[in-house]
């Protein structure tokens, strides 16, 4: 018994302070992608090399622009590597979640006047006003590669992220849930289960699409066995891009989610 206490005391508090304080991702982390349309020579190489078809050309005011969908991107970084004109920059910003797929085009993230730190302070407050102190989440794997699951487990189970400190908890049944967190393209074999789970969740409810697969089908899109994103099956309130999104990016998604529910 003594050794158990000793181990815990020696370890001390390990919980991360995000979002109350900034916690930058490591230098090599691949997050939000910025396009410099001035530098772009329209050589098309990024369109050619992107494994998920995240780049498209759009016409606006008679000019041609490169457009990127963060919902499709798997953050492989090959576009930045191949662009000879340095028109593509992969930043290490991971706060990418958005309420509309269109917001994930070109410039991801939502334009907030408030800083993330301020948002973080308001989180507990928000949960209180909407769901009376707690938000109950049911995670639904609709055919993920297990990467997104592991990130959510890291967020929920690991003392480093400790999701419960925000009053967010995972429940065993969709009948007890306020929120479904869905991963996967979804697959054909899970479509029915996903729809049934959605209908079993009481109102008011919200749905978060976690990861590139849930957002757009990701690298598994356009295939007989998958659909191109869960919004083809059930309505989605929040998209969290990433492949997989790191735990802090998921926390950021929850912040945004709560903002939306309040309306």
């Amino acid at each position: 018994m003594f050794t158990k206490f000793q181990k815990s005391f020696q370890t001390g508090v390990v919980t991360s302070s995000y979002p109350y304080e900034k916690e930058p991702a490591p230098f090599r982390f691949r997050g939000r992608i910025e396009i410099d349309n001035e530098r772009c020579k329209q050589c098309n190489i990024c369109v050619d090399v992107c494994p998920t078809g995240a780049y498209t050309w759009i016409e606006q005011d008679g000019k041609r622009y490169l457009q990127l969908s963060h919902a499709k991107c798997v953050f492989c970084g090959i576009c930045e590597e191949m662009c000879s004109y340095k028109a593509i920059a992969i930043t290490n910003s991971f706060e990418l979640a958005a309420t509309h797929k269109e917001d994930l085009l070109t410039k991801a993230g939502f334009d907030t006047k408030e800083s993330v730190e301020a948002l973080g302070k308001k989180l507990n407050e928000k949960i209180f006003s909407v769901f009376k102190r707690s938000l109950h989440v049911r995670e639904v794997d609709a055919g993920s590669c297990n990467g997104c699951e592991w990130e959510f487990v890291a967020l929920y189970n690991s003392p480093v992220h400790d999701l419960q400190r925000f009053g967010i908890d995972v429940v065993a049944s969709p009948r007890h849930a306020d929120c479904l967190l869905v991963t996967g393209p979804p697959t054909r074999n899970l479509e029915t289960a996903l729809i049934k789970t959605y209908h079993a969740t009481p109102e008011p409810k919200m749905v978060i699409a976690l990861g590139a697969c849930a957002g757009s089908g990701g690298i598994f899109s356009n295939c007989y066995a998958t659909k191109n994103g869960i919004d083809n099956v059930i309505p989605v309130d929040i998209y969290i891009p990433g492949c997989p999104p790191r735990p802090q990016a998921i926390i950021y998604g929850f912040l945004l989610a709560l903002d939306r529910v309040r309306k």
């Binding site: 090599r28 982390f29 691949r30 492989c76 995670e139 055919g143 003392p159 074999n189 598994f220 007989y224």
Partner: protein, 530 residues
């Protein structure tokens, strides 16, 4: 002294004179043996029993556009010799049947059912020829891996009622679980037939996460397909990336720089580390030993942050590339890694000491979910589960790749009770071995380039690739197509081999032990369902 490669071949040709054609591949350790349907069972059982060669994979390939036939390849791995014997037979479209070898070699069980679903070829004499991959919602006669099936086909969604096997009798009741689980885990559907708390029978329905991965491979240029390979499984990304890159490098005939080999080895061992430590945390959670799970998850977090620092991704994605690796590990990073691993070694030792001194935990782990060695061997079980049943199978030793020839390490096969405890012990030992391997890599690697370029792929070349992932041996088989594309890329994950073993370990245990047993195998659904 063991028998040499040539001796095996000579024995085979004299024994089956006139009925086999042996072709050496451009790769030394792959020998293709063509035969006919009639001789198949004899040859396979001969190789399996006389040579003690285990069935490593079965691959079907639609080669009708090339030679009018479907081909089925049976990959056997010779013991104590880095050689694969690949028996193959043609199957015609007019007569879409092939003899089942399952009655002789039970390890073929799932492969044959998979081939039936994906190619529409019938294994004659299979004891249990039910559908495996395609659930009842797929229309009849849908064979996704045939070449005349388009990847984007939109199929109608049918209502399905596939029966489950159950035990009937007084007091027997059925507990259905999944596919949407109470925990945060991947989807599968299980039916327990139980009396009180004791399980009599378990039937599992899997392949919920079937994403058509192998079909998507056939539609991508080989450079893009790397990113798909990394996403076959979230938590074995480095293994799948290495397996894919090795396959491409083999068919293209390029070697990679020594430094890249060492860096790949470091990444592969980092993958084993975060998986094994995370799994130990998970097993503690399954046994309601929360102190263990909290510390396990904490250490796993440190390792994943390290992964992100090295590769830019917490799952080691985006670093391993065709021809080598994308980023180098400089001296500062090296120092950081070595220091962190030294700390983790101490931290982890303290954790496991506490675990093994806890009688409440040990009570749950010991004698639970036993997998006897014969069952494991018969079913072709691999990885940690095989080693915990006393079978010393490890691709790093049997078929060395990356820098594994140059480092020294032990494979623990002395915990051979085959219970949950043995599987935990094997992981604990492997954690230290992994750290030891990484340290050696840093000592041995010299400066130099980290990438060679690969340009054109020769069409219609075949090669095998293999990697020991944290879960066990992964086997890949590639055949290239013109225009730098893939004709076929077969992925055989360790979980595909180990799943059929689970139902054998369950009966006699109580229902609450099922999650624990399942976690001790740590099977992955995504790379099984593909």
């Amino acid at each position: 002294m063991g028998t040499s490669r040539q001796d095996y071949l000579d024995t085979l040709t004299s024994r089956f004179y006139g009925t086999v054609t042996i072709t050496k591949s451009f790769l030394e350790n792959e020998i293709y043996i063509s035969t006919s349907k009639e001789k198949l069972i004899d040859i396979c059982s001969y190789i399996n029993s006389t040579f003690q060669a285990s069935l490593s994979a079965m691959i079907c390939n639609d080669e009708r556009s090339l030679n009018k036939y479907f081909k089925i390849y049976y990959v056997f791995s010779l013991p104590e010799e880095d050689t694969f014997l690949i028996v193959n037979i043609p199957v015609s479209e007019q007569e879409p049947v092939f003899p089942s070898i399952t009655p002789k070699i039970p390890a073929a069980h799932w492969y044959e059912r998979e081939i039936k679903d994906m190619f529409g070829l019938e294994p004659v004499g299979h004891p249990d020829p039910y559908t495996l991959v395609l659930h009842g919602n797929f229309p009849d006669n849908t064979y996704p891996l045939r070449k005349d099936f388009d990847v984007q086909t939109r199929l109608p969604h049918l209502e399905s009622k596939l029966p489950f096997k159950r035990v009937e009798g007084e007091g027997v009741f059925e507990i259905p679980v999944g596919p949407i689980h109470a925990g945060i885990i991947e989807p599968g559907h299980f039916r327990f037939s139980a009396v009180g708390d004791s399980i009599l029978y378990l039937d599992a329905k899997l392949f919920y996460t079937h994403k058509g991965t192998e079909k998507i491979f056939e539609t991508m240029p080989y450079t893009k397909a790397l990113f798909l390979a990394e996403r076959i499984c979230g938590v074995c990304a480095a293994s799948h990336a290495t397996g894919y890159c090795q396959a491409i490098e083999k068919v293209a005939g390029v070697g990679i720089p020594p430094r890249a080999k060492f860096i790949r080895t470091i990444l592969l061992e980092l993958e084993r580390l975060y998986n094994h430590i995370g799994d130990i945390g998970n097993i503690c959670a399954g046994a309601a030993f929360h102190l263990g799970s909290a510390h396990g998850f904490r250490i796993r977090e440190y390792l994943q942050l390290l992964n992100e620092t090295i590769t830019g991704n917490r799952y080691l994605r985006g670093m391993i590339t065709i021809g080598g690796v994308r980023f180098d590990i400089n001296n500062d990073l090296k120092k950081y890694i070595v220091t962190l691993l030294t700390d983790i070694k101490k931290d982890f030792k303290e954790l496991t000491d506490i675990m093994f001194a806890s009688s409440s935990l040990m009570d749950r782990l010991e004698t639970t979910g036993r997998l006897p060695a014969e069952t494991a061997r018969g079913l072709g079980v691999v990885g940690v589960a095989a080693r915990a049943s006393g079978i010393g199978r490890d691709a790093r030793v049997n078929h060395p790749y990356a820098a594994y020839r140059e480092v020294d390490f032990d494979v623990p096969v002395f915990y051979n009770d085959g219970d949950v405890y043995a599987r935990v012990r094997v992981r604990v030992d492997e954690v230290y071995q992994s750290i030891y391997i990484i340290e050696q890599c840093f000592d041995k690697m010299s400066e130099g380039s980290i990438k060679t370029s690969v340009k054109e792929l020769p069409p219609y070349r075949q090669a095998l690739s293999y990697v020991e992932s944290p879960r066990g041996e992964n086997i890949y088989w590639i055949m290239t197509a013109p225009d730098n594309r893939l004709f076929r890329y077969k992925v055989r994950s360790p979980s595909f081999c180990n799943w059929p073993a689970i139902p054998y370990t369950i009966p006699g245990n109580i229902v609450p032990d099922f999650p624990l047993i399942n976690k001790s195998f740590e099977l992955c659904y995504s790379c099984t369902d593909l």
